[in-house]
Structures are given as C-alpha cells and as structure tokens.
Symmetry: C2
Subunit: 215 residues, 2 copies
Amino acid sequence: MPFTYEFPHPAVATDIAVFTLIAGDLSLLLIKRGGPPFEGSWALPGGFLAPDEDLDSCAHRELKEETGVDAELLFHFANFSAPDRDPRQRVVSIAYLALLRFDLITLKAGSDAADARWFPLASLPNLAFDHREIVDVAVRTLRERLGDLAILFALLPQSFTLTAMQDAYDAVAGAPIDKRNFRKVVFDAGLVEDTGELSRGRHRPARLYRRKQPS
Amino acid sequence: MPFTYEFPHPAVATDIAVFTLIAGDLSLLLIKRGGPPFEGSWALPGGFLAPDEDLDSCAHRELKEETGVDAELLFHFANFSAPDRDPRQRVVSIAYLALLRFDLITLKAGSDAADARWFPLASLPNLAFDHREIVDVAVRTLRERLGDLAILFALLPQSFTLTAMQDAYDAVAGAPIDKRNFRKVVFDAGLVEDTGELSRGRHRPARLYRRKQPS
DNA sequence: CCAAAAGTGTTAGTCCTACACCCATGG
DNA sequence: CCATGGGTGTAGGACTAACACTTTTGG
C-alpha cells in the first residue's frame, strides 16, 4: 500500500544506545544486521516511527521489542540527519539513550536482526551507518548526566551495596571516584535508605540499601 | 510532482525559537500565519527539511530566509512529535533555539507569513500548534545554558559596556545578578578584553570591552 | 550641585577533593 | 591468621553569595 506526498519526506527512525553493566564493564547492546545495507555488520537497535505514536513511544516500543523490558531510563539526546547517512533512502535518526539491567533481559533477535549481543564499550566492533558517531555522542551525554547519581539506579537491583553502586559509577564515568567522597554525596543527597539487610559473601558482609523515593 | 513510499513518512520540519534583546526585554520572533490551519495566529518561524540538507542546515536556512542573517548561536534542543500536533498532516518538529542581535535584522515576511514581529517574552500572544510548549521548553533550556556566559555575546554588539552585558544576563535569566559578582566572574573567566575606548552618555563614561577569543 | 550610572573588595559559608586506617568475615 | 573487601572523618582550597560606598560625568 503506497503513501504519496507532494514533496519528499524523509523516513524517521529512532536509534537507541542501550547501556548496561556486565561484570563491571559498561556495555552496549548491538544487533547484527540480517539484510542490506551493511548486512552482517553490527548496529544500534531501533526502527521506524509508526503513524500513531510519538518519538518517545517509538523508542520505548522498539526497545521493548528487542529486549522485552520497559527501560527505566530512556531519553532523547541528539538527532542525526546527514542526507546520505543511509545509502538506501533518506532517514533522519532520532537518537535515544537507555540504561537497564541486563539480567532482566532475554535478547530477542527481531525480524531483520540476525543476532543480538552485549559488547563492552572498550571493544566495540565496527558499526553500520554513522552509528559509531551516535555511540560516541551517547557516551559523552551519559557521562555529562552522571552528575545526577540517580541514573545509576537503572543499572542496579532493588537492593544493593554501596560498593556495587560505586562500581556502577566508576564504570559509567570511566574513572574511579574516591570511596569516602562517593558515600558522603550519596548519603547527603538522601538517595538511598538502609534495608537493614546484609549481603553475604566471601568477606565482611555489607549493608544493603534501596533507592529512596524523593518525597 | 508526487513522492511515493511503501510506508507512511511524516513530514519533518525545524521550528526556531529566535530570541533577542529589545530595550532590556528578552523578546521572541513570531510570524503571523498567512494560511490555514491557524490562519492569522502567531507561530514560530521554521520550515520543512529539504532533500539535500541536514537539520542544522535547514534551521540555518530557514532563519536566514526569515531574518537575513546567519545566527551566531543556533542549536537543537528538543523534538516535538505528537501524532496530532498538526491537523493537516503528520509533522515531526525539530526545535532549535537561536540568539541574535535584533538590530542586525530586517524582518522579511516569507511566502506563507503575513507578518513578522518581535514580542517581549512577558506578553506573547496565543500561539499556533504546540508552539507555546516549544517556547516554554526553549526558555528553560536557554536559562540552563546561561552558566556559559559566552552565549551573551550573541546578543551584544562588537564592543559593549559591562553594564550592557549584565543587562543581557538579567534579561535572559529573568532575575538580576549582583554587579560585583558578575564582573568578577566575567574577568576571572577571561571572557572579555578592554578596547581602551570609553562609552559616551549622559553620565559617567564606561569602559568598552570586546569578546576575547579563547586561545 | 545634583542625578544617574560606573566602578571597586571582603567575608562567611559551602562545596570539593585529597587522603589512611581499622573492622568483619570466610577460608 | 591472613586476604579481601567494608566502613569511617578531617582539613585545605576553591567557589559562591551577600553586602555599600566612592567616582565621574552631563545637565
């Protein structure tokens, strides 16, 4: 069923940089393209805007189709619109950034995706289209927003140790922060509350905290 | 000449919130719509993305068509994409924010614009489409970015007094800042250099400064 | 000489950053 | 008992915000 317009319209798609934390490494979700162009290359998940949804809904829908979860944190951060960025047709890409817990997810290769995998940020493969540039901007944006420590909760389970929270911070920031300073900021900002539980591990047990809802 | 696609494509347009400073008031450029829908209403300038340009170029081009100048400061700040935001057809709006000196400009009513005017931010008329929301977000974004005082240069002539610069700050912030603190920040940041000239006015002459290019 | 705008420093409080040692547990 | 990670406080420097008077000019 064709759709006809008086002047040329670009296709509009959302592309999503989905980050998670795996074994201490900030990692990115990529799908392997199952068809041309760039067949066999890795690319960001995403897809075209449907007629009855806005861009935020499109990003949520595409992410859910790919991962089965509603992202806790998903926001727009940039547009990519070079006329020749897609060799098939004009596509304007609305880029989103998501953070989520990878352990909640069962990756589903979508219709046009041959495979889906997490890659540590430090060892990404070559990417299709201009997706490498999108990722670079996404990482920069993510680090800028790290001033708000609350974004870390998207990477953490319901209850967590402060060391786990700091490990998340270090992984996102790409550099370690001082332990006492980190704890002071978290407590002074009233971000967490003590669950009363303790973790059990090989060493001294740690207090478990949960996110404190801002009242 | 019709353009046909296999699935529906939205139209993509840039809308631009152009701010300037007039008699100490932060003011916004609006055009009066010359055709339906919202005929006779005021709206943001902007227009559709052309096939051979990216979104930044589109915003620059539309702004130049409307004002005759290249904006010193023009950047994307949000997208607006509710499916029914334009009653005629699906239009995704890529919103840009510009600052410029109104005295450099001769407003040109474009093809579909019946009129073009500056409105003080405090007394805007009702706006077409969702443009009121776009303006609200634009103002919020502008104030957030005011941490970088360099954006004020877009509102100032080549050489200016520090009082003029502070008046620009106060107008954008919507609240006055302490004079001594403002001057200290400007000097400590090395933003300006003394021209050696003095202003002449009704009262004590003031030193004239110019923007110091970051080296 | 008067009205109006230009110009100028200090202080208290807060925030940021660097820094080192003892504790509790499992093995 | 030892290896490992958990947990705690302080001090110096930087930055922020509040605050008032003198100077210069035109009229």
